[in-house]
């Protein structure tokens, strides 16, 4: 039987590629008896859904991350050179 470590890897990869029949069966058998990995699998599906939803959110206005003054000056000069 596959270990929890192997199953967690395959569950994650199942979001990114089609698993082989053998891999799918291995995961399914493990999930029949392992509560922890079932939770993990549900959480992976949740992460995928959350990421998709995050994509639709408007960009946040202020997270404290700002263009540095040096970069701002550099970009300003480069843009002015353009005109």
């Amino acid at each position: 039987m596959l270990t929890c470590k192997e199953v967690s890897e395959l569950v994650s990869q199942s979001l990114d590629r089609k698993l082989s029949l053998r891999e799918r069966l291995g995961v399914r058998v493990h999930l029949l008896v392992c509560n922890a990995c079932n939770r993990f699998a549900a959480q992976m599906r949740f992460l995928r859904a959350a990421a998709r939803r995050f994509r639709e959110l408007p960009p946040e206005d202020d997270t404290g991350v700002r263009l540095s003054d040096a970069a701002r000056g550099r970009i300003r000069r480069r843009l002015d050179g353009q005109r």
Binding site: E6, S12, F40, R52, P59, R66, A71, Q82, R83
Partner: protein, 198 residues
């Protein structure tokens, strides 16, 4: 911070774009690239390209949305341009970080089994959840963060992601798996672990 202009608007003066949108563009770029130089470079390339393309602005979207669209197109170029230097930091954390999550060398069982998350879908409706989600992504090692944001949030397909990140598909899967393990832990600790609302 200036709000984006309403739709159907004309463009503002190009020389005001850096002031109006520079920080927002930089935030968007930095979240995806996790590298100051690259993000600054991308903001500059975006504004230059926008200046060249200003005649094409159709007024269907707000000015900032238009600029972010240009930035998205330039993002892949920027990553490719920097691909070599980006590759140097290797796969960030080694296999140990994953091994530590399991109780023996073979990884038979979880050391700390994933907890039951109570009604996770309700979290999607809460503003604070998204702040935690963003923070968790920001604490990932840069390469994992880049892979996760490009593939899972920006929706690049596997092949495109491999090209942009300059790695084999199996490496992308490894990076995504590591990113997900960390995000899972982070969300469990900071949101689903009962710390909510405290």
């Amino acid at each position: 911070m200036a709000k984006p202009d309403p739709p159907k608007s004309a463009l503002s003066e190009p020389h005001t774009w850096l002031e109006r949108h520079g920080d927002a563009l930089y935030r968007y770029a930095f979240f995806r690239l996790r590298d100051m130089d690259m993000a600054e470079d991308l903001v500059q390339e975006t504004l230059l390209a926008a200046f060249q393309a200003r005649a094409d602005f159709a007024g269907r979207s707000a000015e900032r949305t238009w600029l972010i669209g240009i930035l998205k197109n330039k993002l892949v170029d920027t990553l490719r341009k920097h691909a070599r230097e980006v590759s140097v930091d290797a796969l960030a954390d080694g296999p140990d970080a994953i091994d530590a999550l399991f109780n023996d060398d073979r990884g038979q069982h979880w050391r700390t089994p994933p907890a039951a998350w109570e009604n996770p879908n309700a979290a999607l409706e809460q503003k604070q959840f998204w702040a935690v989600f963003r923070d968790c992504i920001e604490t990932l090692p840069p390469r994992q963060a880049r892979a996760f944001v490009l593939c899972e949030i920006d929706g690049l397909d596997g092949k495109e992601a491999c090209k942009v990140l300059d790695v084999e598909p199996s490496n992308v899967w490894v990076m995504l798996h590591r990113a997900r393990l960390r995000l899972r832990q982070c969300l469990e600790k900071h949101w689903f672990g009962g710390a909510r609302g405290k």
